[in-house]
Amino acid sequence: MQAFEYASPSTLHEALALLGSQWGEADVLAGGTDQISLMKDFIHTPKRVVNIKGVKELGGIHHSAQGLRIGATVTFDELAGNPAVRTEYPALHSAVMGVASPQIRNMGTAGGDLCQRPRCWYYRRGFGLLALQDGKSLVPNGDNRYHAIFGGGPAYFVSPSSLGPALIALGAKVKLVSASGQRVISAEKFFVSPQNESSRETALLPNEILTEIQVPPARGVKNATYEIRQKEALDWPLVTASVALQMQGSTVSKCSIVLGHVAPTPWSAAKASQALDGKALTPETIQQAAEAAGDGATPLSGNEYKVKLARVAVKRALLEASGKG
């Protein structure tokens, strides 16, 4: 780990003043479940680390008729134990429980989940975010069993976020605050596929802190997450699917299906969603949506199986949302 200056501000105002204008000047520390290992492995070598766990205004879950406000430093464990999350947002609750380690649920934060860096083994072994060697990505000719099947190139890693797909399906927004202002953007827009080695996989700027997540009300919205994970114990999912279905009677009036761990960002399966829009939720329409979830996939040499898993995840998430899971 490279030596760094450590700051532990108690207000957001102070925290923002400690950030830099370029990546590498300051890193934000919350649960530390990813940040510390990034630093130990010299993937991140910040000059300053700003611990935001002591910033009270970044904590807390608030539920109202306007929806759910999740503070950035809310832990997975707090989310898991929140009655509103459990009853109104099962898609979010299962995504949280998919992190199958009590230790990580105790430490990991909602904001950190969205901002964590990819697990791509080339990136983590020091070959850079795009895994370039001599200007060419190592992924297509390498061991890409866990890499992207959608939206690959130049980035082939998969977004590691557990909450991202559920939040996007539920239409959530994130608030990004800097010393000079704040912006609220959709969770979907928060994730980006980097086009060069110096850019990042989220819209967050070096001088910003993700302060909160805003989830619209979901009462009456059928929602679920289905995670395909090889191990019961802590393990990264191979594919996840989060679905949110607004219903008019027995008809789906608006459908959002978002896949996780299949692309450099959470991946909206538009064709799958379209397959259900305006239709009744039946085993047949669910199967059609599931089939469409694989459309447009561009698997690599070692991950075609994930296309099949994407279809299965969508089918099972829809069955669960419809109450037949």
Binding site: M1, Q2, A3, F42, A100, R119, W121, Y122, R124, R125, F127, Q133, L138, N141, G142, D143, R145, Y146, I228, Q230, K231, E232, A233, L234, D235, W236, L238, G302, N303, Y305, K308, L309, V312
Partner: protein
């Protein structure tokens, strides 16, 4: 003088301590953290060691400059072990060792070392034999009978390809040590399976008397065969200490280095053809196999094919060792056996499916090709009962509707495990305390508990009265722990030393009771005349008669004499059966149940024995479903030297494990036999066979990941 003492184990029905389900002596200390491992130590003035390893799988060092590291404040010594012009043969190969006052400074200093490399071509993947070029070393054909004729005359033949990858030992306590060299003396705290023998590595390398190398190790966190030598990191840490004024240097490998260079198990890939008669009699075995054990090549004993069924009449075996640019293999819990078992039992299960035969019936039918037909027959019957095999087994693929398919599989194993040479010193003190000293090591297997139980049994004392002293090479040599030889060795030497000491005590007591020493026995904390318990005194009273003198006696297990003495022997069998459920939509395999029936001769403590088997079953589940070292041909690096993608089972992944120790009088009569390795053999094969049975097709390559299971299912539909 009495005649040669009777060292024989007491008969089963006369044992007071042996055979009881006792908790391990260090269980509480380990689970509360009171037990200090050598990696926990922080002696006064300790320095931190660190190392630079090669980032390339094959490269020449053009230049190396350690001056900036040497100048960094806090760095006390730097030792480059490669120089300009040297070739590096694998990513992770050690290049420079250094010591510093803090871990951070040590790691910073490593990053200041400047090396220019000339990158050279490498090979790290061996699965595709056609791509390994001149790195293949065929070892020639071994043939018996007429395989061609047997294939022509067979009612059925089966052909298949199978593969099992390189695994790493993944010791939770990584390799390493703390060591201090002061003058010509060494205080050495390694994590080792070889407390006594490892001193000579340090003594020779530093040219100091081996007698001056004092090795200490109370506990260790996993070795599995990989922790015998002092290793380069041990020798260089010693040199760093010497160069730093004798301050202790601590260097335990970090996780990535541990998984990259601290040992691994060879892969095996195979093309197998087998033949059988309609009635299930196996008539031929033909295998072409290849494997890698790293830079040194093969490290696989292909002569074990066809595993256990070694007497199949017509056999043709070809094996090729492949050298790759990766760290070298080391012994891994039952070297060669789990891999050879997996390939053999998979091929025979495929053959059984070919003739629509229950593989249990086929294995039973061919037991005459093994050297333990009766034993396996008994064990298969027991396992089948525990698995409800006949009720739950179904022909391949006949698994009902719904996406989740259930299947059963089986396998068998064998091992030696006779006790190694061991010497032990037992002391009875006048205050009735008893000490047992021997330079062995408790790898977590329960050695400490076994030694105490044997002494307690012999002296007629409770286990709490025995003080066991091990993990220190100042005690009598009791050998390294490899090949499952420890329990036989230490129980035999402890028995003999204890009987010898007790005989001396009897001589003292005999005078007071006015009887012959031969007439005495030690039972229930008393020394009594046999058949006349009224004529007796307490053990404590007896010891008081020693005055100020203790009794110290030696005992030795000598492997050449052991079979006659009957205290320990070798040669065991075990069978495993697996019950799995496979989600055929996701390819995810879940363990329902794993049954292990295992013989290990006289079972000293059924509870710790079962623990050993549980551990082996979990290890097998990891190997069958999760574990593999993943190499990248482009970079020549290990891609998963971590606990994230080097996957191991968690509690939720292991299902129900049923262990049945084969404790019968006829087994017991053979004396103590080692257990650690034989129970770690059959599980992978049993699970792989259960998956084939569930999904109706062979998924040929373990670990059985969703990708591989789904690929197999697609082949079945195609």
């Amino acid at each position: 003088m009495p005649n040669t003492p009777d060292y024989h184990w007491p008969p089963m029905d006369k044992r007071r301590v042996m055979g009881k389900r006792l908790d391990r002596l260090d269980g509480i200390a380990k689970s509360t953290g009171a037990a200090k491992y050598n990696s926990d130590l922080k002696p006064e003035g300790m320095l931190f060691g660190a190392l630079l390893t090669s980032p390339y799988a094959h490269a020449k060092v053009k230049s190396i400059d350690t001056s900036a590291a040497e100048k960094l404040a806090g760095v006390t010594a730097v030792r480059a072990i490669v120089k300009a012009g040297d070739e590096l043969q694998w990513a992770g190969q050690e290049m420079v060792f250094l010591a510093a006052t803090t871990e951070e400074i040590a790691n910073d200093a490593v990053r200041l070392i400047k090396v220019d490399y000339e990158v050279m071509p490498h090979l790290v993947l061996e699965e595709d034999l056609s791509k390994v070029g001149n790195r293949a070393r065929p070892s020639g054909e071994q043939a018996t009978g007429d395989t061609e004729k047997a294939f022509q005359e067979a009612d059925a033949t089966s052909e298949g390809s199978y593969g099992i990858p390189v695994l790493t030992h993944c010791c939770l306590e990584p390799h390493g040590q703390t060591i201090a060299i002061k003058g010509d003396r060494a205080e050495y705290f390694p994590s080792t399976q070889n407390v006594y023998g490892i001193a000579s590595d340090i003594g020779r390398a530093l040219n100091i008397p081996i007698a001056n190398v004092h090795v200490h190790m109370d506990y260790m966190g996993g070795g599995f065969g990989s922790k015998f030598p002092a290793d380069r990191w041990g020798l260089e840490s010693a040199e760093l200490s010497k160069a730093s004024g004798g301050r202790p240097v601590k260097l335990f490998l970090d996780r990535a280095t541990e998984l990259t260079i601290a040992g691994n198990r060879p892969s095996v890939f195979a093309k197998v053809k087998t033949a059988a008669k309609k009635d299930g009699t196996i008539t031929a075995w033909q295998s072409e196999t290849w494997s890698t054990g790293g830079i040194g090549g093969g490290n696989l004993n292909a002569a074990l094919f066809p595993y256990v069924f070694t007497q199949v009449p017509n056999r043709r075996i070809n094996h090729t060792a492949v050298s790759v640019n990766a760290g070298a293999a080391r012994a891994w819990r039952a070297p060669s056996h789990p891999q050879v078992c997996f390939i053999t039992c998979s091929a025979f299960e495929d053959l059984a499916a070919k003739i629509n035969m229950d593989p249990l019936d086929m294995f039973l039918k061919n037991l005459n090709y093994t050297s333990r037909a009766d034993l396996y027959k008994f064990q298969f019957a027991k396992a089948a009962e525990l698995m409800e095999w006949k009720k739950n087994w179904h022909p391949r693929g006949d698994s009902g509707n719904g996406p989740v398919k259930r299947g059963l599989g089986l396998a068998l194993g064998t091992w030696g495990g006779a006790g190694h040479a061991s010497t032990c010193k037992t002391t009875i003190h006048p205050d009735a305390s008893v000490e047992v000293e021997l330079a062995t090591q408790d790898l977590g297997t329960g050695t400490r508990t076994m030694v105490a139980m044997i002494a307690a049994e012999t002296f007629g004392l409770p286990i709490s009265a025995i003080k066991v002293k091990l993990g220190d090479n100042a005690y009598p040599n009791s050998g390294g722990s490899g090949g499952s030889t420890t329990v036989g060795g230490v129980t035999s030497s402890t028995r003999k030393a204890s009987v010898n000491a007790l005989t001396k005590l009897f001589e003292v007591v005999a005078k007071s009771l006015n009887v012959s020493a031969d007439d005495l026995e030690a039972v229930d904390q008393r020394i009594s005349v046999k058949g006349n318990p009224d004529k007796s005194m307490s053990f404590a009273q007896a010891c008081q008669k020693l005055g100020v003198n203790s009794i110290s006696e030696m005992g030795a297990n000598e492997p050449a004499k052991a079979p006659q003495e009957g205290l320990n022997t070798g040669g065991v069998g075990g069978v495993q059966m697996a019950d799995v459920s496979v989600d055929t939509e996701t390819g995810i395999v879940k363990m329902n149940r794993l049954v292990a029936v295992q013989d290990c001769g006289l079972v000293v403590n059924p509870k710790t024995a079962e623990s050993q088997v549980y551990g082996a079953c979990i290890m097998s589940i990891c190997g069958a479903l999760y574990e593999e070292r993943i190499m990248d041909e482009q970079t020549g690096r290990v891609l998963n030297p971590d606990m994230e993608f080097y996957k191991l089972a968690g509690i939720g992944d292991i299902g129900e494990i049923i262990v049945h120790m084969d404790i019968r009088e006829e087994m017991d009569k053979r004396g103590v036999v080692g257990l650690g390795e034989p129970c770690a053999i059959g599980g992978i094969a049993a699970i792989a066979n259960a998956v084939a049975n569930a999904i109706g097709v062979r998924a040929p390559r373990v670990p059985l990941t969703p990708a591989r299971v789904l690929a197999a299912l697609e082949r079945r539909t195609a």
